[in-house]
């Protein structure tokens, strides 16, 4: 473009217009490719779930559902097959784990970030680094000793064991994000409250929590999504059907040979709905939480 401006030749001008058209066309191609890339596995779930047949399914040559039916969704929702007979209970278990993880992560994370970021504990190098250490221990590496410990605490096959594992991995992230976000809140506000004789609990409740709401929402959503995506700990720790989560139930489907695929995919799709809804509903908060901390200094 700068060349065209300098010389002003018509050949160069056409060339620059050609270049612009090329850029537009190639970005359109990229857009289509991205859409296909992002949506194909999700579409494949829908394709299988909409198939009306139970049992063996022949998908030979099919790339769209020839006679779509909601039969499989109906079967899952009404628990009309032995592998989904506890579906709603398992769904409730998943929700319990997700909500508890969210609540405890926000609670523990906000308390710790308050103490580490806004009181004299700031100078404590060890405390400030402990979250980072956890952050760096790969999740599935801890699972074997963790399982042993849960057995010795008598917590195997309980939902609380899963909540504990999730909080362990979500809390460090929460503390990092919250401490970063807290630097945006002037410390003078706290000082004013101290001067007025407020107790630390009051400063935490009346000043810190209200001003931190966007970051708390981001961190809570993150914890919920982490819990919803987690599988290893649930697989290893939960054994009875009634204490299972949807993730384990779907995996059981996956591992059994005669299970109807359309039921499995219907269950997987229903399981996918809550995080998608939460994600899109709270994406503004998520973005705030991510961007505020993404590049500082």
């Amino acid at each position: 473009m700068s060349l065209a401006r300098v010389s002003g030749g018509s050949v160069l001008r056409t060339r620059s217009r050609l270049r612009r058209v090329l850029i537009e066309v190639s970005s359109l191609v990229l857009v289509v490719a991205l859409l296909v890339w992002s949506l194909t596995p999700v579409y494949n779930m829908l394709l299988i779930a909409l198939d009306p047949d139970e049992g063996d399914i022949e998908f030979e040559g099919i790339i769209w559902p020839p006679n779509p039916s909601l039969h499989s969704f109906h079967a899952v929702v009404t628990q009309g097959y032995w592998l989904v007979e506890d579906f709603w209970r398992q769904f409730g278990n998943s929700f319990f784990i997700g909500l508890m993880t969210m609540f405890l992560t926000v609670l523990i994370g906000s308390l710790a970030s308050f103490a580490l970021g806004r009181t004299r504990l700031r100078q404590s190098w060890l405390l400030a680094n402990a979250p980072l250490v956890t952050y760096a221990v790969p999740t599935s590496f801890l699972v074997i000793p963790f399982t042993r410990l849960m057995a010795s605490y008598d917590l195997s096959n309980t939902l609380w064991a899963i909540v504990a594992a999730n909080v362990t991995f979500a809390a460090p992230y929460a503390i990092l994000i919250l401490r970063q976000y807290a630097t945006l809140i002037p410390i003078e506000l706290d000082q004013a409250a101290w001067v007025d004789g407020a107790s630390p609990v009051q400063v935490y409740r009346r000043i810190y929590l209200p001003l931190m709401t966007p970051a708390l929402a981001a961190v809570g959503t993150f914890a919920l999504l982490l819990a919803w995506n987690e599988y290893v700990y649930q697989y290893v720790l939960l054994s009875s059907t009634r204490n299972m989560t949807v993730a384990v139930a779907i995996a059981q489907f996956f591992n059994s040979d005669e299970a109807p695929l359309n039921y499995m995919m219907a269950a997987a799709l229903i399981y996918s709905l809550p995080p998608i809804v939460i994600f899109y509903a709270l994406r503004r908060y998520m973005a705030a939480g991510l961007t505020r901390g993404a590049l500082k200094g």
Binding site: V42, I144, V195, F254, A294
Partner: protein
């Protein structure tokens, strides 16, 4: 509000510090420290019970040298190490590079770019287990969606993707890239957006547009963030169980395991927990330096995820 006076004094640091320390000591009678400790206690408890103790326990479980002799002699373990290296090298770098390019693409203005971004992040929002199972069936040799599309469009009979070690491993890597590129794109996009407009504008005036602007302006500013993302992503990927477990299942014939899935297979499927811990622990020579570099980077640059 009384607070205004404190804020005013805040312009003179020396005086502020005296006022503050007096107010803390006077107002709270030294109780602040106790409270601060009480606030961290829940996290310390979580850390000690669920991180420190299991780590020590794990180290103890995997402390026998004979375990490692047994492990290294296992041909499954040998192929697992190769798989893990390939998974890390390709999975992390291809994904991060794509995320870097796409984050630049998503900087374009317009509502339809925003709409596209919303669809683009869908893989990240959908639970892993659902999508990885879907990808598994998509790659079925007889009736999988991929082969059906190949046949419908080009009349090609596709192979059984998951019955060959290399294509199965490739499928796992591509699935990982599919799942996590959106997340890292968002992070890098946030990083790009944090670059002050004046910098990129003045760079444009000076003729640094397109590729040159990227090499001389954008990338140097993003380099630190990119490095931290790469380190974090390596650590996350090393612990990743779901992609391998659901896309290839470690098969065919245990040829596509990575350390995380092999550790869990050894511990829970063939009931040799110590061997499982040993498999996992053999990654420590890689993990420890990574963690040290990451901690340094995170502390010095204040960049965080």
């Amino acid at each position: 509000m009384n607070g205004t006076s404190v804020i005013d004094v805040g312009r003179r640091p020396a005086i502020r510090r005296r006022t503050l320390s007096r107010s803390l000591r006077g107002g709270l009678k030294g109780g602040e420290y106790t409270w601060a400790v009480a606030f961290v206690v829940p996290y310390i408890a979580v850390f000690l019970t669920f991180v420190a103790y299991p780590v020590v326990y794990g180290l103890w479980m995997g402390s026998e040298a004979s375990l490692y002799r047994e492990l290294f002699a296992d041909p499954i373990y040998q192929s697992t190490v190769v798989n893990t290296i390939l998974y890390l090298a390709l999975g992390v770098n291809v994904k991060m590079f794509l995320a870097l390019l796409l984050s630049g693409f998503f900087m374009r203005p317009g509502w339809w770019m925003k709409a596209l971004l919303l669809i683009f992040v869908l893989p990240w929002a959908v639970p892993q287990i659902s999508t990885f199972i879907s990808i598994h069936w998509m790659l079925n040799g007889e009736w999988g969606f991929l082969n059906n599309v190949l046949y419908a469009l080009f009349h090609i009979e596709g192979p059984s993707w998951l019955n060959d070690r290399w294509s199965a491993l490739g499928a796992v890597i591509v699935s990982h890239i599919w799942k996590w590129t959106p997340f890292w794109t968002l992070i890098l996009l946030a990083g790009r957006m944090a670059i002050p407009l004046e910098i990129s504008d003045s760079a444009k005036v000076d003729g640094a547009t397109g590729m040159r602007g990227f090499v001389h302006i954008t990338f140097p500013l993003l380099a630190n963030l990119y490095l931290i993302c790469t380190l974090l992503s390596t650590i996350f990927l090393l612990g990743d169980f779901n992609a391998v477990n659901f896309v290839s299942g470690g098969g065919p014939a245990n040829s596509t395991h990575v350390l995380a899935t092999l550790g869990i297979r050894n511990a829970f499927e063939i009931a040799q927990p110590r061997l499982g811990v040993a498999a996992v622990m053999s990654a420590l020579p890689l993990v420890i330096p990574l963690v040290i570099i990451l901690m340094r980077k995170l502390r010095t640059s204040e960049v965080q995820i």
